[in-house]
């Protein structure tokens, strides 16, 4: 497993900013999503067929828990929840392909800045998952302030005793979101590398299948948790709801 680093290695520098192989993989996932979206919404028909039909099915499958959790407001959560789900699934599933492996015996490219693989599963980088978790954190708290006002937000954060308890709980949420996704995908990446090193034929396919499962489950978890946090944050706060949340 030589050549695998916990911290993603830099592939090239863009105007002085380092671009790691995980960022490249994230860009590729974005490109795939954009292309598929454009293809699915070209010549849209009222009665869908083909790709449009499939995408409508996927979006409705996400809309259903949104409206289940949060009722009428749920629809406004769909852009964030849906984007998170689709991006994470696409990035995870693309990362299973052998081209995305980062190990000396898979890749040793001289043109990259740190002489390692040019691609690696996007969510195997804590920066990527933490970025999404920070966005969720900011969005949730902004929604809270928008629904309940600044004073209610301060009261919510200093709920006690002890007053710092709620603040710790709020900090723990994006941390756990980021670490859960990062840990799962990183562990899967390492697992695939080790298994490919042990038995190069057939056996890695089993673990790739497992990674397919893990990839979509983790995407679902991230999206559902975001939905749950948003729903909790945007309920108009009464004392009984506050007590129920604890």
């Amino acid at each position: 497993m030589e050549g695998f680093h916990l911290q993603a290695p830099v592939v090239f520098y863009l105007a002085g900013i380092p671009v790691t192989n995980t960022i490249l993989a994230a860009w590729l996932a974005m490109a795939v999503l954009i292309v598929v979206s454009l293809l699915a919404t070209r010549n849209m028909k009222l009665i869908p067929s083909g790709l449009q039909n499939f995408m409508e099915f996927a979006v409705e499958a996400l809309l259903s828990p949104c409206e289940q959790f949060a009722g009428a407001r749920g629809r406004s959560f769909l852009p964030l929840v849906g984007t998170l789900f689709f991006f994470i699934v696409t990035a995870n599933w693309m990362g299973i392909l052998p081209l995305w492996a980062e190990s000396d015996w898979v890749h040793h490219v001289e043109w990259t800045a740190e002489h390692t693989a040019p691609l690696r599963s996007a969510n195997s980088d804590l920066n990527v998952t933490a970025a999404m978790a920070v966005i969720v954190f900011l969005w949730v708290h902004a929604s809270f302030i928008r629904t309940n006002g600044l004073w209610a937000w301060i009261k919510h954060l200093t709920w006690g005793p002890p007053p710092v308890l709620e603040l710790i709980s709020e900090i723990a949420r994006p941390v756990s979101l980021a670490l859960r996704l990062f840990g799962n995908i990183l562990a899967g990446e390492v697992l695939l590398l080790v298994m490919s090193g042990l038995v190069p034929f057939a056996v890695p396919a089993l673990f790739m299948g497992f990674e397919l499962f893990v990839g979509i489950v983790q995407a679902l978890i991230f999206a559902i948790l975001t939905l749950a946090f948003l729903s909790l944050a945007t309920t108009s706060h009464g004392e009984e709801e506050h007590a129920a949340a604890h």
């Binding site: 680093h5 916990l6 756990s176 670490l179 859960r180 990062f182 840990g183 799962n184 990183l186 562990a187 390492v190 489950v217 983790q218 679902l220 978890i221 559902i224």
Partner: protein
């Protein structure tokens, strides 16, 4: 003498407990989640045994619950990776 030099060098080498720490981190850290996952699945099996039609209803909450329990083990694994990558 060669042996004396080796003995002096051996005394100066500080043993590193980092690999042990990495092993313990994931080993002990996986106990809790292991029990948690087992409990979750056991209860799910029991529910399915009592009411086989509930399998569809149970499946998604079970998977989500398992992912939460698994996340704790993943945190321990991350610590093990961090330690493993150091000394």
């Amino acid at each position: 003498m060669e042996l004396a030099q080796l003995a002096v060098q051996a005394q100066q080498v500080q043993p590193s407990f980092t690999p042990l720490a990495a092993g313990l981190a994931i080993g002990l850290g996986a106990i809790g989640p292991g029990i948690g996952v087992g409990l979750g699945v056991a209860k799910a099996m029991e529910a399915i045994g009592r009411n086989p039609e509930a399998t569809g209803t149970l499946f998604l909450p079970l998977i989500i619950g398992l992912a939460f329990a698994e996340a704790i083990a993943i945190y321990a694994l991350i610590i093990a990776f961090l330690l493993f990558g150091r000394a």
